[in-house]
């Protein structure tokens, strides 16, 4: 299992598949939005928390299809499925690797990018906290979606459509946390709800994902 995690991380670093890509995408979104919306700082400040969350979520969404697709193509997935480790474990490790290469860098970078969008100062800590609690759920849900669509024609499209509705609650609570944080309201309720989603997803989805994977390998 550790070997699998290390391999996935190494591959992500070597090929720029996960790590850099998600971060770069996030950066791109935060740079492009001011170009598109215009440099008016007060507008930017209003939309900053929302845009940062949407950016983080899109960055996650994009890297999902790599989770299993590459392993499927070069035959590794077949071999992993016949290897002496439980498929649930494989799924959990894959989700963890995805979070380490996507969610974690996004969380760490978000405050920096907040500057570009002129985020209000009290927002920084809540944005970061929200992302730290919310991105694991995004990775886990995404891994489930990827397992469901691996090896399908139209996989990429379907994946986004399947995963998107599952992402919406996290997004709403996350943006709410950041929004309330910036306006000095109490953000604990949405934060608790988000933590609940993360806990639930992490506990249940590995089993669902492994089952989906088994069916897809036939």
């Amino acid at each position: 299992m550790t070997a699998l995690l290390l391999r996935d991380l190494r591959l992500a670093f070597r090929s720029g598949g996960g790590f850099g890509l998600a971060l770069a995408f996030f950066l791109i979104v935060t740079i492009l939005v001011p170009f598109g919306v215009g440099p008016d700082t007060s507008t930017l400040r209003i939309i900053a928390p929302g845009i940062l969350w949407v950016g983080a979520l899109l960055a996650c969404l994009l890297s999902l299809d790599r989770i299993f697709a590459i392993d499927r193509e070069d035959g590794s997935l077949d071999l992993l499925a016949t290897a002496p480790i439980p498929l649930e474990g494989v799924v959990a490790v894959k989700a963890l690797a995805h979070w380490l290469t996507t969610g974690l860098p996004l969380t760490l970078a978000a405050p920096l990018f907040g500057v570009l969008l002129n985020l209000a100062p009290p927002g920084y800590v809540w944005l970061t906290l929200g992302l730290a609690l919310g991105t694991p759920a995004l990775s886990m849900i995404g891994t489930f979606g990827a397992a469901l669509t691996v090896g399908l024609k139209r996989g990429g499209l379907l994946l986004s459509l399947l995963v998107l509705p599952l992402y919406v609650p996290t997004l709403i609570f996350g943006a709410e946390v950041a929004q309330r944080g910036t306006s000095n309201l109490d953000p604990t309720t949405p934060l608790a709800l988000m933590a609940g989603i993360t806990a639930g997803a992490t506990a249940l989805l590995p089993f669902a994902a492994a089952a989906a994977l088994r069916v897809n390998l036939r």
């Binding site: 001011p34 170009f35 215009g38 440099p39 700082t41």
Partner: protein, 242 residues
């Protein structure tokens, strides 16, 4: 001696060995004089106050950031047309230096903009194309490091350099095409060098000379490094084959 003698790596190493120490020394001299002069011994501008001192960093670095890309363009073209390896390596060596100058110009400009324009950034044509130039520096360096085969890398980066030149040109001449934007205009009393009073002008000239010399020194020095690395690459390939 023909100009193309530079293209012979051995010759180049010889020349570089002789030029580099002098260039570094002169660059250090000019920079120290110019910056000390500018920082300690020039008066404040009546409108800009002490912020005018930023000019000694901002203008030379912005100039050299653009000039560095121009130099990379020329050496890339030489590589594409005449396939002199030293030329391609010189372009590779210049990129990090040019990028550093770009960052300096962006940072000092932003710091300067806060008191002058009331904002540290604006989407005006010159600033925008300059930011794009910065992104091009990033992409250029990343492309070099992503490709294993040195000749392939040289070819592809040369193509990229060609395309990026559009933005180097724009960041210098955008004002001729659009006369909108913050960067120059009524807020500045110093925008034209003819208008600049001699008190500010002479130290500025010394600083510019310092940046130019530093660039020359670094490019020669770094190109020599690149040539060594290239030779190292060739040797290790041979070892692997033997």
């Amino acid at each position: 001696m023909s100009f193309w003698e530079f293209a012979n790596p051995r010759r180049f190493m010889g020349i570089a060995d002789r030029i580099v120490p002098w260039a570094f020394a002169l660059a250090a001299l000019c920079l120290v004089t110019g910056l000390t002069w500018g920082f300690f011994f020039t008066p404040d501008d009546f409108r800009q106050g002490s912020t005018v001192k930023i000019i000694y960093l901002h203008v030379p670095s912005a100039m050299m950031a653009i000039n560095a890309w121009a130099m990379m363009l020329i050496t890339s073209l030489v590589w594409l047309v005449r396939r002199h390896h030293v030329s391609a390596l010189a372009a590779k060596a210049a990129a990090p230096v040019g990028m550093t100058f770009t960052v300096i110009a962006l940072a000092t400009g932003a710091i300067w903009g806060q008191p002058m324009w009331g904002t540290w950034w604006a989407w005006d044509p010159r600033l925008t194309s300059f930011l794009i130039l910065f992104l091009f520096y990033l992409g250029y360096i990343a492309l070099w490091s992503a490709i294993e085969d040195p000749d392939t890398a040289a070819d592809l980066t040369a193509v990229l350099c060609l395309v990026g030149s559009v933005f180097a040109v724009l960041s210098r001449y955008a004002l001729l095409f659009w006369n909108q934007g913050l960067h120059q205009g009524a807020t500045l009393s110093l925008d034209k060098e003819e208008n600049i009073s001699d008190v500010f002008y002479f130290p500025l000239l010394v600083c510019i000379a310092g940046f130019v010399l530093l660039f020359i020194a670094l490019v020669f020095y770094r190109t020599a490094t690149e040539i060594r690395l290239r030779r190292l690459h060739a040797i290790s390939l041979r070892e692997r084959m033997a």
